[in-house]
């Protein structure tokens, strides 16, 4: 929720208003990352408030504490995923996916009566993992510095008379105004050394 909802800021009367929205700076992978971030928050809250139900559904009774810890992990990775540094969040989500799959593997054992539920959950997590990977590599590629980074601009001095000849050129008709002087100019105040 934008903080502006809290502060009650409103646009002024006469200002231009949007009539038709155009293309956005957000790319597909950016939007996917954002969706995954919100998904993380939703799942994290579910794991925090209803670990017992999740454990029963998957036949993972006794693992409630672990599920709750995973809830904390989901929310912790959602924060960077929803931030400008989405890759940090996505990388931590991918690590989390691996943990989830490892835990679900326990529930896939043949003597688990809820094995089918665990299989469905595993399929879902595999799907989410693929989306996480796609978002990670997607955002990495759309926001990379390549191509054409590191160009040489050493011919762009902006000083038409050359750097050396420009040194101090402003001084001929500009002095630092009195209210901008910061340095001491108080040689007269230095105590005379006794001869």
């Amino acid at each position: 929720m934008p903080l502006t909802n809290v502060t009650g800021i409103a646009r002024s009367e006469g200002d231009p208003r949007v009539e038709r929205k155009g293309p956005s700076s957000l790319t597909g992978p950016d939007r996917l990352a954002r969706a995954l971030g919100w998904f993380s928050i939703g799942l994290g809250i579910a794991e925090l408030v209803a670990p017992g139900r999740i454990a029963r559904t998957l036949g993972l009774e006794g693992k409630e504490g672990l599920i709750r810890a995973y809830g904390v992990r989901e929310i912790a990775s959602a924060v960077p995923t929803l931030s400008v540094d989405k890759q940090v969040g996505l990388a931590s989500r991918i690590g989390g996916d691996a943990l989830d799959l490892g835990t679900l593997a326990l529930a896939l054992r043949s003597d688990n009566p809820k094995r089918d539920n665990a299989a469905i959950a595993t399929a879902l997590v595999v799907g989410i993992t693929l989306l996480d990977l796609f978002a990670y590599f997607g955002t990495k590629s759309v926001h990379s510095r390549e191509p054409g980074s590191g160009r040489d601009y050493s011919d762009r001095s902006g000083l038409p008379r050359g750097a050396q000849a420009s040194r101090g050129l402003a001084r001929k008709d500009f002095d630092i105004p009195a209210d901008y002087r910061a340095e001491g100019r108080v040689a007269h105040a230095v105590p005379e050394r006794a001869a």
Partner: protein, 391 residues
Amino acid sequence: MKALVWHGKEDVRYDTVTDPSIENPRDAIIKVTSCAICGSDLHLFHNLIPAMLPGDILGHESMGEVVEVGSDAKGSLKVGDRVVIPFTIQCGECEQCRKGNFSVCRRTNRKAELADKAFGHHTAGLFGYTHLTGGYPGGQAEYLRVPFADTTHIKVPDGIEDEKLLFLSDILPTGWQAAVQADIQPGDTVAVWGCGPVGQMTIRSAILLGAEQVIAIDHLPERLSMAEAAGAITINFEEESVIARLNELTGGEGPHKCIDAVGAEAHVSMGQPDTILDRAKQMLLAENDRPHVLREMIYACRVAGVISIIGVYTGLVDKVPMGQAMNKGLTFRMAQAHVPRWTDDLLRMIEDGRIDPSFVITHKVDLSAGPEMYRTFRDKSDSCIKVMLRP
């Protein structure tokens, strides 16, 4: 008309919006011929200042032609005038304007009540820069309403191309003020953190003011190469120790003057572990900015030196070594640029060929490419340093 509109974090769109109109007798409307994206716009792109509304028009570096003038502005402007619009809106009459402190004009912030709460006392109205500074629609658009237009414009002559004049709106006077408020004197060693557009203008200003040695700090090779073009010695902070190099270049005494042209969003990297902690705190809303450069400057600066802050900070910062600053007797100067205070001097230097600010433009595109250019400029891809847009 078309405009670049803020819709949320990292979401800038090229929208169709209603045209602005004269609302006040001191207003004028200009048809924008050129505008640019600023490093300050990136703070909004990142939603670092939570006082933007979806639908706000961005942009505070614009120039163009006057197409309509309100009755009270007619004395100083007429249809057809060619003007650069400073990013600060000034009344020209209040106590601060009369002192030349235009960016803290007492009368142009129409959301003064909100800003008083946030800042203690409000600052001037600014174009396209959150509701804390008036929520005025910005100039990355085809038309711009200029409030207090009789005092908020810089008349520029025909016969000089937009490229050379546009940056009178912000980054040239901003870089100039960074150097002036450092009180640069001939013989000084000046260190400039950040070689973005503002840092580049600061470096040129320091040379023109007679600095003996200018040291430029960044990690992007293309930006360092542009700093070298003006005769700066460069330090790549990813490859060498900034403090060690600065001491080496100053006989162990440190630079006389240190200038922060980075601000709130210092680069986050393993080499600077404090930035990682700051970034984590930002995500948890426990700190607003990443003041790595501020910390480094205080440590590096010569005793009784001057710290000039022109990079924007937005709010609370942690772990600033105040004891070091106090005991070293440092002077701090900082502000949003008081643009019109410097523009006569700078226009003269452009006209007589002492500086040509167009050197900084690396991308010149149609306004419709704006959303994509926000990304390119933020990602520092394609060796982008400054984007100029044409509506």
